[in-house]
């Protein structure tokens, strides 16, 4: 009961914030609405007994990535975005299309059964060894290879940022 109420609260706020993000005229407000969104996503993670992911969600997304977004949006000072009409002729085609697709997805996902194989980390197991410990163990055994590949991806992103954005061309 408590869980359901909590989920409904978090989910509602997430959806409302997401809608606010795409409907605000001022891009800075859009970015700022993503902040409560991330916090509520973290809330859902906490309800799933994933405190570590929740903290990292706030730390990485809200604490680092969003600040970067905010920086960019503020410095660009996009006046054009504020006056441009949001709903145009295109919408008459795209909106029904998107809604139909959405309906399809929902219908399909609702009508399917989810009885896949269960993992070994039940809530009790996670509580026993501790949330961050459990993630650490899995990350450095089962997911060691993807984890290392991800680090190479970050390196490439860094090299790319320098190559594409460094001031001097030489």
């Amino acid at each position: 009961m408590l869980l359901q109420t909590g989920f409904i609260y978090f989910a509602t706020v997430i959806v409302v914030c997401a809608l606010m993000v795409i409907t605000r005229k001022n891009p800075v407000h859009s970015v700022l609405f993503m902040l409560p969104l991330f916090f509520h996503v973290a809330g859902i993670f906490i309800m799933l007994n994933a405190e570590f992911v929740a903290a990292v969600q706030v730390l990485v997304y809200a604490g680092a990535i969003m600040v970067l977004f905010l920086f960019v949006v503020m410095l660009l000072n996009i006046q054009k975005e504020r006056v441009r009409p949001r709903v145009g002729l295109k919408w008459t085609f795209t909106a029904p299309l998107g809604l139909t697709l959405f309906g399809f997805l929902v219908a399909i996902l609702v009508r399917s059964q989810y009885n896949g194989t269960q993992g070994s980390f039940t809530i009790e197991a996670v509580k026993q060894i501790g949330n961050s410990q459990a993630i650490g163990q899995v990350l450095y055994t089962d997911f060691l290879f993807p984890f290392e590949v991800a680090s190479v991806i970050l390196l490439v992103a860094m090299v790319g940022a320098i190559v594409l954005a460094k001031k001097r061309l030489d």
């Binding site: 405190e51 730390l59 604490g63 600040v67 905010l70 920086f71 503020m74």
Partner: protein, 359 residues
């Protein structure tokens, strides 16, 4: 869980939260007094003297003054963001104190009462996550004021906070590697007892001196204090991101700044200075005849050790402010990215190698 238990838990949380709020508020107020006094004496002055005995009521007078000042919102400001910004700075700074372990559990009337509100599995990440929110207050204030000084201050400040957060986080990793937990209580407990050579306490500052120095520098830069106070460099930027703020809203920023300083000091005490573990072991006191009985008198002395270390660490902030000139912006960035970051990474590597060979 019965209804009574739930009620007790609620009362405990509310009372504990209120206690921590009071502690934090009092501290933010009196840290300004502490700062003014220390600075004054370092500069051969007296500091506040008139309000109360040796100016002891000065912080209250300041608060009262700010409370009654006119609240001005610039007409060109983005009103909603302008109002939200101080709160965005203040709230995360205050709620992060929930996980600070001021002292261990002690028994009152058969109940175990811990001297901390929550012992999360991830309390260190919780603190870091909330401290990274501080940048929002600054950046929102800078932007919404619609003033170029404020914007510049906000940009400088947030880029500084972000840059030094990385070095700070990395310096903490080597500590985490040694304690094997993200829980601040566990980290404190891991530092109990005697350490190196049997003389020094088993505090991380002795095992991880490099990490401590990086943390010290990063924590000063994180809180935008001198010599890293470029965001409010008054001769270039008037006052930085809060130049358009007045009255209570300005006070919020002020409080957030001191709460943040208090928080990084608490974190330094817990992570590096042994937390509530005594500076002079209990056994030494008990050797003095007649003193042993007083130890339990004013609560557990552990909490006093914590407070002493806290103010000692905070003293460093004031000392640096009174001593060092401000850095230039490029020097600041160079220090953060080209020196502290590689050193912190190397420190993690060395820690890992040493730990592998010692085990």
């Amino acid at each position: 869980m019965g209804i009574i238990d739930l009620l007790v838990l609620t009362i405990y949380i509310v009372a504990g939260g209120a206690l921590i709020m009071v502690f934090t508020l009092l501290n933010t107020a009196y840290l300004t007094y502490y700062e003014r006094k220390v600075m004054a004496h370092m500069q051969q002055r007296l500091g506040p003297m008139h309000t109360g005995y040796h100016g002891l009521l000065q912080p209250l007078a300041d608060g009262l003054k700010l409370f009654f000042k006119e609240d001005i919102i610039p007409s060109q400001a983005d009103k909603a963001v302008f109002i939200l910004a101080p709160l965005m700075g203040l709230i995360p700074a205050f709620i992060s104190f929930a996980v600070v372990p001021f002292g261990p559990k002690f028994t009152v009337m058969g109940h175990e009462v811990p001297l901390y509100l929550a012992d999360l599995n991830i309390s260190l990440l919780y603190v870091l996550a909330l401290s990274s929110m501080g940048a929002y207050g600054i950046i929102m204030a800078g932007w919404s004021s619609n003033s170029k000084y404020a914007l510049m201050g906000g940009l400088r400040s947030s880029s500084q906070v972000i840059s030094y957060e990385i070095a700070m986080g990395l310096s903490l990793i080597s500590v985490l590697m040694m304690s094997g937990s993200l829980s601040l209580v566990e980290i404190t407990k891991a530092q109990a007892g005697a350490g190196l050579l049997g003389i020094l306490p088993n505090w991380n500052v002795f095992c991880q001196p490099v990490a401590f120095i990086i943390y010290l520098i990063a924590s000063i830069a994180e809180t935008n204090r001198a010599p890293f106070d470029l965001p409010e460099a008054e001769n270039e930027l008037v006052a930085g991101f809060h130049v358009e703020y007045s009255g209570m809203r300005f006070a919020y920023f002020f409080m957030a700044e001191y709460a943040n300083m208090l928080m990084v000091s608490c974190l330094a005490v817990v992570l590096f200075l042994g937390g509530w573990n005594p500076i002079i072991p209990r056994s030494v006191f008990e050797m003095v005849p007649g003193l042993g009985g007083y130890i339990g008198f004013i609560g557990d002395p552990a909490v006093w050790w914590f407070i002493i270390k806290l103010y000692a660490y905070f003293f460093l902030f004031l000392w640096f402010r009174a001593t060092l000139p401000r850095l230039r912006y490029d020097q600041l960035m160079k220090l953060g990215w080209k020196i502290m970051l590689p050193v912190a990474l190397a420190n993690i590597l060395v820690t890992g190698i040493v730990m592998t060979f010692l085990n």
